[in-house]
């Protein structure tokens, strides 16, 4: 159990998907104009990452690996299968959210289908493969990575809401400032690298 907590903390803070690997930057920059939508998108990402990671783990070990169902190395199909799982899961999440919470569905709008092309999701699955996690660890990694991404987008949205009232030079306003802020946040998160997750 402690091992899983370690992976959760490590993936959420130390190897933050958004601020250490720059994954999911497109939606991170596009949707971070207000805290409310950022919050919704962050939750959706945690959810999708938490679901797709174990499913992709099962596909990778049970179907694609040499000891799998077909008994041959099918890893060249990995990208296509992973993206298909992600696309269908996002579709499913979209239908569930539409049913359960129409207000969240409306506020997320176009960003929900965009999660399919959010590289944090596919990147998370590919990292999971390259780090050779087992099933439990892949769940912890998915949830932790999603939580880290959620934290990053909510934090930048809050800063961007405040900085709108500051005197930023014209050409730097908006996008340029968002980049520099993210860089500063990345530096702040780098200081968390000194934490030893085994101490928890």
């Amino acid at each position: 159990m402690g091992e899983l907590v370690n992976i959760f903390i490590k993936s959420a803070f130390i190897e933050n998907l958004a601020l250490a690997y720059f994954l999911g930057m497109c939606s991170y920059l596009a949707v971070s104009k207000s805290v409310k939508t950022a919050f919704g998108l962050g939750l959706a990402v945690i959810f999708v990452l938490g679901i797709t990671m174990p499913i992709n783990w099962v596909i990778n070990t049970a179907l694609l690996s040499e000891n799998g169902l077909f008994g041959m190395d099918l890893t060249f199909l990995r990208l296509i299968l992973f993206i298909a799982v992600i696309a269908s899961m996002v579709q499913l999440v979209e239908m569930v959210i539409e049913k359960v919470s129409p207000s969240l569905y409306n506020s997320l709008g176009i960003f929900l289908p965009l999660i399919t092309v959010n590289c944090a999701i596919l990147g998370g699955s590919l990292f999971m493969v390259s780090k050779e996690y087992n099933f439990g660890e892949s769940v912890a990694f998915g949830l932790g990575g999603g939580f880290g991404w959620f934290l990053a987008i909510v934090a930048i949205a809050a800063i961007r809401e405040k900085i709108r009232y500051s005197a930023v030079p014209g050409p730097l306003r908006g996008l340029g400032m968002a980049f520099i802020l993210t860089g500063l946040m990345g530096m702040a998160f780098m200081s968390l690298m000194g934490i030893d997750p085994a101490a928890f």
């Binding site: 601020l19 250490a20 690997y21 720059f22 994954l23 999911g24 930057m25 497109c26 920059l29 596009a30 060249f76 990995r78 990208l79 296509i80 993206i83 298909a84 696309a87 289908p113 399919t116 092309v117 959010n118 590289c119 999701i121 596919l122 990147g123 590919l126 990292f127 390259s130 030079p169 014209g170 050409p171 730097l172 306003r173 908006g174 996008l175 340029g176 400032m177 968002a178 980049f179 520099i180 993210t182 860089g183 500063l184 990345g186 530096m187 780098m190």
Partner: protein
């Protein structure tokens, strides 16, 4: 649908003013990275060294051009509801081709780029161009649009990688240029390369400043809101 009909009347393989605009527009006024904010993830991660950025740019130009071409060829036969999945399959196929080719040709670069080659699939530039352009235009113009956007992306990548490698390591493409010891081309005793440039936040700063410079020079892009 109007676009489709207009496109049909024009010559299929001409290269006039409109075609040139398709190639040139993404370099400045409609740059994928600094204006459309697409494809940022890979732009940040692969720009620590110039050779990585070059390989990545070539891969993206290839995938973007051919994904646009194939989608445009198939656009009459793709049902609206499943178009995302069809597009993703086309892109995933092309990326797999790139990945396997790179693995065979240069294994070291392949190892260094690790997951980022696979992540070309989710590079929003490609998806965005397929949705916005290839679904409504003829194959030749879509191909040009793909090449143009790939180059617009590549230029920014190469500029950022040059700045980061030069100031971070004092070298370009692995050739040592500026440094403290005598094996560098220009030797300055006591010179220390800026290690921050190799770390990830610097990519953000460099692109942020690049956007600043770009918008100060091309003032119609300034964000008024």
């Amino acid at each position: 649908m109007a676009d489709v009909q207009v496109a049909k009347k024009e010559a299929a393989f001409g290269f006039g003013k409109k075609e040139r605009k398709l190639l040139v527009d993404p370099l400045n006024d409609n740059n994928p990275i600094t204006v459309q904010v697409l494809g940022i993830c890979s732009a940040l991660a692969v720009t620590t060294l110039l050779d990585k950025a070059l390989v990545m740019s070539i891969a993206v130009i290839f995938v973007c051009a051919f994904a646009n071409l194939f989608t445009s060829l198939l656009r009459m036969y793709i049902p609206k509801q499943v178009r995302m999945i069809v597009q993703l399959v086309i892109i995933a196929f092309l990326v797999t081709v790139v990945e396997l080719t790179l693995k065979a040709v240069d294994y070291n670069i392949y190892k260094e780029l690790s997951v980022f080659i696979g992540l070309i699939i989710t590079n929003c530039i490609i998806m965005g161009r397929l949705e916005a352009f290839a679904m409504a235009n003829n194959p030749w113009r879509s191909f040009l649009d793909g090449v143009g956007n790939g180059i617009g992306y590549g230029i920014i990548l190469i500029i950022v990688a040059m700045i980061r490698e030069f100031f971070g390591k004092g070298s370009l493409l692995g050739y040592k240029i500026l440094g403290p010891s005598s094996d560098f081309l220009i030797t300055i005793p006591g010179y220390q390369p800026n290690n921050l440039m190799v770390l990830f936040p610097s990519a953000m700063f460099v692109i942020g400043v690049l956007i600043w410079v770009h918008r100060a020079w091309n003032r119609k892009l300034i964000d008024i809101s």
